[in-house]
């Protein structure tokens, strides 16, 4: 039952084919079996999970079942979970037990979901390979010599390996979509502000957004229903009404116009991925959609602009880790500056330090206009490209990544090479638009990811388009054979 969809699992629970305790124990057994190799989990919450499953079974018995009652999930280790270690995969927070619950995880608890544990990630969500974790890299379940993508690599690998029914992730420049593509699962980055950021440890506040990672668009719709909505405790969360995502999954695609941004189909794209995309385009045509080429002319500037804006925001957000109020503190500080400087040098890994320094540099006197303000102006140009495109089409269809999962260590020596991994996901992040990544093929046994981009708050349309595709294809049903 490890690879069943959430709706199948809910059905099994309702029909009493199995209990939540049985289901939870089954996943926990798989975690025990495979986590040593894959390293998906930083914390396995075995006792709490079984206890939550017992409660869920009782609630179902009394007819008080929530939307996800008894479904075992895993949370990325940057959502604060009261009483459970929340490390952000950093040495800095390797002792941090939050005194409060994030809105996202609280909503999962209220919906009856069982939390199996906290998943590995790139430290502070900075990375595209999950190699920047204080707790060691995650391995891709399709080929353990390769990366799962990042930063939500542990969540993606755990779903792909059948170690949980679904997981949460966060996406700042592609951190849900790229690992979803590398691991052959479905992941949604909603519109900026659709989901509360309260209790989500901040990386870049104008970009960060939580989202679901699961086996299908249908499962993502169910999870988004639980996660989405305004939160008075996050002033940037959107006031916009929440759609009925699952109810919208039956709509036909006839009359829908899908745009192909030509800048995403260039020489840089792996030809096998290009071929898989062409097949997906044909599937959409056969579903009744009209295909049209569009242009997003400022695409190539998105990665440079992102690597000014995101580090600038990160340098401000990560100033709070000072060794005074929470987290690690260095031993025997000589004075206050020594306390700050050694705590931060010991607490943060190399990539986090690079980004803090770049961010500090671009915000410092004399460089602000040339870097930070220029990047924000380019951000406007990138958003305008999308606004223009959505004047002509309903959705955009493009690859999620320029290549498939790469070998561990192959890009970690060159930061810029690693940054370019996110060329197809960063533009949408800068514009704040929703995007869905879903599997659309395989190359040498490795999954290929398709990306659908929607207009603001059109998650329902995106999920429906993903679901219609998954009714015609079975790429989302493929799963790796574990050793």
């Amino acid at each position: 039952m490890s690879f069943k969809s959430i709706s199948e699992l809910l059905n099994g629970l309702t029909q009493k084919e199995f209990s939540s305790v049985e289901l939870t124990r089954d996943y926990l057994k798989r975690i025990q079996q495979y986590n040593a190799e894959l390293n998906c989990f930083i914390t396995i919450a075995e006792d709490q999970a079984v206890e939550a499953a017992e409660t869920a079974d009782k609630r179902r018995e009394t007819g008080a079942a929530g939307l996800l009652e008894g479904i075992p999930v895993a949370h990325k280790d940057l959502f604060c979970t009261e009483g459970t270690l929340t490390s952000c995969a950093s040495n800095m927070l390797s002792n941090f037990i939050p005194p409060y619950e994030s809105t996202v995880t609280r909503r999962f608890l209220e919906a009856g979901a069982v939390c199996l544990g906290k998943t590995n990630m790139d430290e502070f969500a900075m990375g595209s390979s999950n190699e920047n974790s204080h707790f060691g890299p995650v391995r891709n379940p399709w080929d353990s010599t390769r990366v799962p993508g990042g930063s939500s690599g542990g969540s993606a690998a755990a779903v792909a390996a059948g170690l949980c029914a679904a997981a949460t992730g966060t996406d700042t420049g592609g951190s849900i979509r790229q690992p979803a593509a590398f691991c052959g699962i479905t992941g949604l980055k909603p519109t900026y502000g659709r989901i509360s950021r309260l209790g989500m440890i901040a990386f870049a506040s104008s970009l960060d957004q939580a989202g679901p990672m699961a086996r299908s668009a249908e499962d993502c719709a169910l999870l988004l229903q639980v996660m989405a909505g305004h939160d008075p405790m996050d002033s940037t969360s959107a006031q916009q009404a929440v759609d009925q995502y699952s109810h919208n999954l039956g709509s036909e695609l006839k009359g829908l116009t899908i745009g192909l941004p030509k800048e995403y189909y260039n020489e840089g794209l792996d030809p096998t991925i290009g071929q898989a995309l062409q097949e997906a385009i044909k599937t959409y045509e056969s579903l009744g959609a009209t295909i049209k080429e569009v242009s997003l002319p400022h695409t190539s500037l998105s990665v440079p602009a992102y690597y000014v804006i995101a580090p600038a925001e990160a340098s401000a957000n990560l100033a709070r880790f000072d060794g005074v109020r929470y987290g690690k503190r260095c031993d025997s500080p000589a004075d206050l500056d020594d306390l700050y400087m050694r705590t931060r040098a010991e607490g943060f890994g190399a990539e986090v330090q690079r980004r803090i320094l770049i961010g500090t540099y671009v915000l410092s006197a004399g460089y602000f206009d040339a870097y930070y303000r220029q990047a924000q102006k380019i951000r406007r140009l990138i958003k305008n490209d999308f606004v223009e495109a959505f004047g002509q089409v309903d959705l955009l269809l493009c690859p999620t990544t320029p290549d498939c999962a790469f070998p561990l260590g192959s890009k970690s020596a060159d930061p810029v090479q690693m940054y370019l991994e996110d060329i197809f996901t960063i533009p949408t992040s800068l514009a704040g638009l929703p995007a869905l990544a879903l599997p659309c093929g395989q190359a040498n046994g490795l999954p290929i990811g398709l990306q659908l981009i929607g207009n603001y708050f059109q998650e329902a349309r995106l999920l429906n388009a993903g679901h219609q595709y998954q009714q015609r294809t079975d790429w989302h049903l493929q799963h790796p054979t574990l050793g």
Partner: protein
């Protein structure tokens, strides 16, 4: 090099990050490489473009200035490295 070793030292102090002596060269190289890469932005004429800081162009919302939080000092300080009598302890800052 777009950025010099002395500048790295200066921004590292601004960011309160100790950089080990033997790592300074490599770090300067890495940061220069990143800055060279983002320098592509400079070729774009953006004279009449308004900067975009929030993708939805939302403005900060206000709430009435009333007390909404209870005092949770003990609970919140339980995760601090060092406290005494409800205060955070740091090395001596006043001689």
């Amino acid at each position: 090099m777009t950025i010099k070793s002395e500048e790295v030292e200066k921004i590292a102090f601004l960011a309160r990050l100790r950089v080990a002596e033997d790592n300074r060269g490599k770090l300067t190289e890495d940061l220069s490489q990143i800055l060279d890469f983002v320098d592509q932005m400079k070729a774009v004429d953006t004279r009449n473009v308004t900067p975009l800081s929030n993708p939805l162009e939302m403005h900060q919302i206000l709430r009435p200035d009333t007390v909404t939080e209870e005092n949770q000092r003990d609970r919140l300080q339980a995760v601090a490295p060092a406290t005494e009598l409800g205060l955070f302890l740091v090395p001596k800052v006043i001689e």
